[in-house]
């Protein structure tokens, strides 16, 4: 008996239970749907028009009540089952292994679960390890049996109670729609929860960093030497980030906006049909190619230009740094990269301004440019601001171009021909290569990411408010 029970546990420990359950639940769903529908027809004595809801809805309701609770139990098991099993196993291991510390204990159990997953696993010769492996398989099987039984019980109960509810006056349709609404809400919730999860993980890693380096010296420090683990003052990085984003917007905002105005207000439909896709093609170029372009082509030109300025009479020698990689080169190329973001979105927004507004302006004798400047653009402004903000956040978060063309030196200088470094460049530098994940050096990357997130969040909030206030005024 005991042996048989053990076999069963072991078998369950190995079975692909998830797929089986999936199939069982699907079948249960179908069966309960038809059961509910048939019962509804019976309740209505064959006259479905007497029912509050159509028989199909009764069917959906029963199916939902059957599958829903079971699915919830299974999802919970999928999320937490494994960690419960591992915790149980850990508590049963001998004291000397439990004393190893959480990291190595975890690795030990990882090895056990790998071993257990092998069906043809031969004995390793280590008695403790083998015993633990078979115990793990049993525990897994037991947990699965419990989960499956719970799910089946939930399905049965749901089925039973749902069928008892059916009557002529039962509002099955509205209940089903409530259920669907709840499902949609869950999906939206998952997106939000994921965001919260990402922020939380960033936050906790950042907190680990801030337990070693003070927040104050991180945010207000002006020296950054993370590679040596000496100085963690982030100001030079923020300076570089915003400097390059600013240079990029200096390129992208006017060119993008004016080309959008030209395309939507002045260009012939044929010209627009050709040029707009070409502009949008810019957005499809991989950023690494832009980085290439910046490094190979733009940076030397910037350097030559800076040297030329330095050589002018009355210009103090060495006024401009004229570095081989420079903020200006990265900024220009990044600006080119985000032109389509500005132009394409602005173009859509400007096109969405109703023709009647333009007609109204023309009809009182406004010229084309007066109409564009004073009627069309104000009407399109919230959308244009949104387009510009999207471009700014692209510029701040952009990585590849700055990695290749902006340089690595953390410094604060107004000279755009000097090499600057950005937050994203430093995160890449800190987290690539051979790293361990609990030194101040690598943790500082998370702190940078977290602060960057906060900054862009504040940015977006302010922008949102601006747009809203403008909306109130203009729409």
């Amino acid at each position: 008996m005991d042996y048989q029970c053990g076999r069963m546990l072991e078998t369950f420990g190995h079975l692909p239970v998830a797929w089986l359950l999936f199939a069982v639940l699907a079948v249960a769903g179908f069966v309960s749907f038809f059961a509910g529908r048939t019962q509804a027809v019976t309740v209505g004595h064959g006259q479905t028009e007497r029912l509050n809801s159509q028989p199909n809805y009764h069917g959906y309701f029963v199916a939902m009540a059957t599958i829903g609770p079971a699915a919830v139990i299974l999802v919970l098991y999928a999320l937490f089952g494994d960690s419960i099993v591992r915790a149980q196993l850990a508590s049963e291991l001998p004291q000397r292994i439990r004393d190893l510390g959480s990291l190595e204990l975890g690795q030990y159990i990882d090895r056990i679960s790998e071993q257990a997953a092998r069906r043809d696993a031969a004995s390793t010769g280590n008695a403790l390890f083998d015993a633990a492996t078979s115990r793990y398989t049993d525990l897994l099987g037991l947990s699965r049996i419990i989960a499956v039984l719970a799910a089946l019980a939930a399905a049965g109960l749901g089925f039973f109670f749902a069928r008892r509810q059916l009557s002529v006056h039962f509002r099955a349709r509205s209940r089903v729609e409530d259920g669907i609404k709840f499902m949609l809400f869950l999906c939206a919730g998952i997106a939000v929860l994921t965001t919260i999860g990402i922020v939380a993980s960033l936050f906790f890693e950042a907190m680990r960093f801030f337990s070693r380096v003070s927040v104050f010296s991180f945010i207000f420090g002006t020296e950054w030497n993370a590679q040596t683990g000496a100085d963690f003052g982030a100001i030079p990085l923020f300076f570089g980030t915003f400097m390059i984003a600013f240079l990029a917007m200096l390129v992208a905002a006017p060119i993008g906006l004016l080309s959008a105005i030209y395309l939507s207000e002045y260009a012939s439909p044929r010209f627009r049909g050709v040029v707009k896709p070409i502009l949008e093609l810019l957005a499809g170029i991989p950023t690494v190619v832009y980085g290439f372009f910046a490094l190979q082509f733009v940076a030397p030109i910037v350097r030559a230009g800076a040297n030329w300025v330095n050589g002018l009479p009355f210009v103090p020698d060495g006024l401009l740094a004229a570095q081989p990689t420079s903020a200006l080169a990265a900024g220009i190329v990044m600006g080119i990269m985000i032109i389509p973001f500005v132009s394409s979105l602005s173009d859509d927004v400007i096109n969405a301004v109703p023709q009647t507004l333009r007609d109204g302006a023309y009809a009182i004798g406004a010229t084309k440019s007066e109409t564009v400047k004073q009627v069309v653009m104000p009407a399109a402004l919230p959308g244009v601001i949104a387009a510009l903000l999207l471009a700014v956040s692209r510029a701040i978060g952009e990585t590849m171009i700055v990695v290749m063309a902006a340089g690595q030196r953390a410094q604060i200088t107004p000279d755009p021909t000097a090499d600057l470094t950005t937050i994203t460049v430093q995160i890449v530098a800190l987290l690539t290569g051979d790293t361990e994940f609990d030194s101040a050096k690598t943790l500082s990357a998370f702190a940078l990411g977290f602060v960057l997130f906060i900054v862009t969040l504040i940015f977006n909030l302010i922008a949102l408010r601006v747009v809203q206030r403008y909306r109130e005024k203009y729409e």
Binding site: A363, I364, Q374, V375, P378
Partner: protein, 272 residues
């Protein structure tokens, strides 16, 4: 008025002669094409000053298109081509020496759907005078705005909230705002393209009253789908059908004693 409209094209020169000082806009042999499609076929029509002329006819008959010829709004549509002459106070508006932008400040237009600019009530009215330099200084501009709003019968309703957005007004108020906007640049002619089609009966009655008052000062042309409206507000009525002018004459005569059987059919509701 000349009651004989049986053969309009032959009587028209005579009309023009007898009331030459009363004719504001004289259109001769107007054809309009949208691409290859002809929308207006050889229409000649003289519009009286200080009177309301209504254009009626079934949808797609070209009355709006014809209206838009008078302030050259069709210029803004790329595929549209207009031929023929339109004389305003004796000058051809399609002549090269005439800037359509200036022409439109003399010929105001009100559209089917109220289209206030995304600006305050004040700026909606002040926009035209500003771009045409009609007022020097803030005080003069205030006066222009007030007088336009008074003429449009909107002043009392909005005088306390001139800085509120134009779009915050009700539909009827918005349409009167658009009329005030047109008036503010002191036009001579006001074109109205179904100005009441988006309004309820009370707002419509208000606009019609206003049109009747404005008749004292302006030459008004109104396109309408409502025969009752045409009968109520206009002195002259033109009936269009399939891009052709079928009949044109005194409103009373058109509605009580139409000459053409198509006009008869339309005003009695047999089609349209």
């Amino acid at each position: 008025m000349d009651g004989n409209v049986e053969d309009f094209t032959e009587t028209r020169p005579k009309q023009a002669h007898t009331m030459s000082e009363m004719i504001k806009v004289d259109c001769r042999n107007i054809d309009v094409f949208y691409g290859d499609k002809q929308a207006i076929y050889d229409i000649s029509l003289a519009i009286q000053d200080r009177a309301v002329t209504s254009f009626i006819g079934p949808s797609g008959c070209g009355k709006s298109t014809f209206l838009r010829c008078i302030n050259r709004m069709n210029d803004t549509i790329e595929t549209a081509k207009v031929s023929g002459q339109i004389y305003m106070d004796g000058a051809d508006i399609n002549d090269h020496s005439i800037d359509p932008v200036l022409l439109r400040s003399r010929v105001g237009m009100v559209f089917q759907k109220p289209n206030p600019f995304p600006k305050s009530i004040y700026d909606n009215i002040a926009y035209g005078p500003r771009i045409h330099g009609l007022a020097s200084g803030k005080q003069e501009l205030d006066e222009v705005v007030e007088s336009a709003l008074r003429k449009a019968g909107l002043w009392d309703e909005v005088k306390d909230r001139l800085q509120a957005p134009g779009t915050s007004l009700s539909g009827g108020q918005q349409q009167r705002l658009c009329i005030a906007r047109a008036i503010a640049v002191s036009p001579e002619v006001i074109l109205m393209d179904e100005p009441c089609s988006a309004l309820d009966p009370i707002a419509t009655a208000r606009i019609e009253e206003l049109i009747d008052e404005l008749r004292e000062r302006y030459c008004i042309v109104i396109v309408t789908h409502s025969m009752q409206q045409a009968a109520r507000v206009s002195q002259r009525t033109a009936f269009f059908h399939l891009g052709k002018l079928i009949e044109y004459g005194d409103t009373e005569q058109i509605f009580t004693n139409p000459v053409d059987s198509k006009t008869q059919d339309y005003i009695t509701g047999r089609y349209g």
